[in-house]
């Protein structure tokens, strides 16, 4: 069952009604039942794996607070080794084993739970139903965001049925998520997918256009999915963490990683970078560089044990270490500030740096990535690429791509700046304008959406 399907929508609606009818105490059970149905229908082969992981983490979590320090550390280490080892095993290339759906996400949820319990940041789960509902929570199990147990449990303990306003904002999130996925991401896919799947068949302008379009496609696809997941969670009265905060407005790579896939980067910050940098504190700047480098490599390899993801991690590690070590001369800082373009120049530079890194992220292998990159000098007639003049038919036109991207950027910017609330939510005229906007988005999806592809890029991780 795809997350983007009528069946999923019916399941969500049934769960919302069930929690209303049966009362709030039935929420974990209803969520667990719905999640089990979703998982069984989506990936029956991974059910046993998911169930065993939950049982193991639940049992170990309960023992961590009662066992002695020595036993606790052994128990914790062994369990994390088993859980992460399983993740590494399924990510290894070259075997026929199909990875359980959402394994990268639920594994990180389980590891965070065990570490939080061990460090005393949260209480161990008191109910297996609640814990299993948290780990397998169906709006988030396939592609995150990676929620924390303490955050989830806190919401269960103080559970309130969502108000009308919360539910309508949830539907707004879902609607805009659908727009981002079906209209923006899938349309960009018409350019990006054929070109980056076989870069050797395309000439330089196509390669460059596809390379620049891919980060935007990925953003629309993943943040669209996150919006739908957050909206679905909100309908059930559970607030999911944010995953994106206008990443393409980041003025440095460091800032980019605080705005992109935030639930993963914050997870790595809390459970890898901070402990590691604390351990390496005595090594000074070298220790910091090592901690940053390991962190960025982990981000890359979290997506899969492939050379392309390793390269993605290495490139980001270089950016981040260089950024952390940088000491820009004061004269240069002043000169740049006087130009008045520093922020926008940095935003542009960051986008270009990340586009370069994402070429490796998207490529099937390293040679394909290099083939794409060869298109850049060829575009400027540097003669490094034997470009083909043939421009095979692509399923997109520039207008059909640029217009939805502009709408997405406009809406995201407006919402983030508070214009939506100011103009549409507080006035009577705004209510009419709001409905007009909703109709416009629905019609854009119906008429402009591409419905052939309901798979999300990040669902494969």
């Amino acid at each position: 069952m795809s997350f983007l399907s009528i069946e999923s929508a019916v399941l969500l609606l049934a769960t919302v009604i069930a929690t209303r009818v049966l009362g709030r105490r039935a929420l974990p059970g209803a969520v667990l039942l719905a999640s089990s149905m979703f998982y069984v229908a989506s990936a029956p082969g991974g059910v046993a794996w998911l169930a065993l992981s939950i049982l193991l983490a639940f049992a170990v979590g309960a023992r961590l607070t009662t066992a002695s320090q020595r036993i606790s550390i052994w128990l914790l280490s062994l369990t994390i080794l088993v859980i992460l080892g399983a993740l590494v095993f399924v990510k290894l290339p070259g075997h026929d084993f199909t990875a359980p759906l959402g394994i990268s996400y639920f594994t990180f949820r389980l590891v965070a739970y065990l570490l939080d319990v061990y460090w005393g940041r949260c209480e161990p789960a008191r109910s297996l139903t609640e814990f299993a509902a948290f780990v397998s929570f169906f709006p988030q199990v396939t592609s995150g965001p990676i929620d924390r147990w303490g955050h989830f449990l806190g919401q269960l303990d103080r559970y309130e049925y969502p108000s009308y306003e919360q539910m309508s904002s949830a539907l707004r999130l879902i609607l805009f998520g659908l727009f981002k996925k079906l209209v923006v991401a899938n349309r960009l896919g018409g350019l990006v997918d054929p070109v980056l799947d076989s870069p050797g068949d395309f000439s330089a302008p196509f390669l460059v256009a596809a390379a620049y379009a891919f980060p935007i496609q990925l953003y629309a696809d993943f943040s669209g999915l996150t919006d739908i997941a957050r909206g679905a969670s909100r309908l059930l009265g559970i607030e999911a963490p944010r995953n994106f905060d206008r990443p393409f407005l980041a003025s440095s790579v460091q800032e980019f990683w605080t705005r992109w896939h935030m639930s993963l980067t914050f997870w790595l910050r809390d459970y890898l970078f901070k402990p590691l940098s604390a351990t390496l504190r005595r090594q000074g700047r070298i220790g910091l560089a090592v901690a940053i480098g390991v962190n960025m490599l982990a981000i890359g390899l979290w997506h899969g044990l492939q050379w392309t993801f390793l390269a993605f991690g290495v490139i980001n590690a270089i950016y981040m270490v260089a950024g952390a070590m940088r000491r820009r001369p004061r004269a240069l800082q002043v000169a740049v500030a006087r130009l008045g373009l520093r922020r926008w120049g940095n935003i542009l530079l960051t986008f270009n740096l990340m586009t370069f890194a994402f070429v490796f992220f998207r490529a099937a292998d390293l040679s394909a990535a290099l083939e794409v990159l060869r298109g850049f000098p060829a575009l400027f007639h540097l003669g490094l690429h034997s470009s083909q003049t043939v421009a095979p038919a692509l399923g997109v036109t520039p207008r059909g791509v640029v217009a939805p991207v502009a709408v997405m950027a406009f809406v995201e910017f407006g919402v983030a700046r508070g214009y939506w609330d100011r103009w549409f939510m507080r006035t009577r005229v705004g209510a009419v304008a709001r409905w007009v906007a909703y109709y416009a988005v629905v019609l854009a999806i119906v008429f402009g959406g591409i419905f052939d592809n309901t798979k999300f890029i990040y669902a494969r991780f």
């Binding site: 919302v16 009604i17 209303r20 009818v21 009362g23 049925y161 969502p162 108000s163 009308y164 539910m167 309508s168 539907l171 349309r187 018409g190 003049t389 043939v390 421009a391 095979p392 038919a393 399923g395 997109v396 036109t397 207008r399 059909g400 791509v401 217009a403 409905w435 909703y438 109709y439 629905v442 019609l443 119906v446 008429f447 402009g448 591409i450 419905f451 052939d452």
Partner: protein, 323 residues
């Protein structure tokens, strides 16, 4: 039980959705009544099929290249842009459903024909609304099965506008498909570069590799033709030399070998005019389509060299029908 906010939401959603559902339903219902190649060809087959003595299938090569008015008997041209052999087979089945006078069946095959199936020329649907409305079309999903496989049409702004304007704007040839519409001559379209672009476009469609379906469809057409005692002709229309040069010799050899094998096994006439020296630059509209003048010449040549010996006209007064 606390259903208050939920009921309010459901109520508002219902009010919000009602005009959308009604509007889209109305539009879809209207679009289904719009003519498509499928509906129009069905009409032609019902009206003209029983009296047709010569029937032409095939893609745009035959559509632009064969004027049925030049044939000796009553003839209809059912070729269409991007029409593949599986659609030819569907038309053939419809053609022989009732009694008829079919004597010669012309099945044009192009270099890509043995590798493609309906839908492989995904870009073609763009042309319909573009010609209908003079607009660029960002959504290529329009009429995704427009070649006659389905009458269900996906709604887009263009189809919506098209539906609103139907009756006011003439439908494009790709939809009405009434016989022979010559391709206008476009200067420069036979250049080496254009010809290689065209060949590349055809190769991309071939990459989907529907070899088995295409070959089986052709063999089924030949079997059906034999069943109704009609003489099938496998026809290759003339191509510009630059178009042929854009194909590897091995590709051309493979195509011809396949054609010869089928001709031998099924004892059918093969009329291969692909390299006919009688056709020169003015005879071509572009790299692989004949110009109006070229089509007239080719139709006359085909009528005298191939069709004439195979057919004995018994048809309607005047001996022929052509739109």
């Amino acid at each position: 039980m606390k259903l208050g906010p939920l009921l309010k939401l459901v109520l508002r959603l219902t009010v919000f959705s009602a005009p959308l559902i009604l509007g889209i339903g109305f539009l879809e219902r209207g679009l289904r009544s719009m003519p498509t190649p499928s509906t129009e060809k069905h009409k032609i087959l019902v009206e003209r099929g029983p009296s047709a003595e010569i029937v032409i299938f095939g893609s745009s090569h035959a559509d632009a290249g064969l004027d049925p008015a030049k044939f000796p008997c009553s003839a209809i041209n059912l070729a269409n842009d991007g029409q593949t052999l599986d659609i030819d087979l569907a038309l053939m089945r419809e053609l022989v459903r009732g009694p008829g006078r079919l004597q010669v069946l012309i099945v044009p095959v192009s270099l890509f024909s043995f590798h493609v199936s309906s839908g492989d020329f995904a870009r073609l649907p763009e042309k319909v609304p573009r010609k209908l409305l003079g607009l660029d079309v960002p959504n290529v999903d329009w009429l995704s099965h427009w070649l006659g496989q389905s009458r269900v049409v996906k709604a887009t702004p263009h189809t919506a506008i098209g539906f609103a304007l139907r009756g006011f704007v003439p439908l494009p040839h790709e939809v009405t498909n009434l016989g022979w519409t010559p391709d206008p001559v476009k200067p420069g379209r036979t250049s080496i570069r254009e010809a290689s672009t065209k060949a590349e476009f055809h190769r991309m469609a071939m990459a989907n590799d529907h070899q088995k379906e295409a070959t089986l469809a052709l063999l089924a057409i030949l079997e059906i033709a034999k069943g109704v005692h009609a003489a099938p002709v496998l026809l290759v229309t003339p191509f510009h030399r630059n178009y042929l040069a854009a194909w590897a010799p091995s590709e051309l050899a493979e195509f011809r070998a396949r054609l010869s094998a089928i001709a031998y096994d099924y004892r059918v006439v093969v009329a291969d005019y692909s390299q006919d020296p009688r056709f020169s630059d003015p005879d071509f509209a572009d790299a692989d389509h004949l110009s109006p003048g070229g089509a007239q010449r080719f139709s006359r040549i085909l009528a005298s060299e191939v069709i004439g010996p195979l057919v004995r006209c018994e048809g309607v007064a005047g001996g022929k029908w052509a739109p």
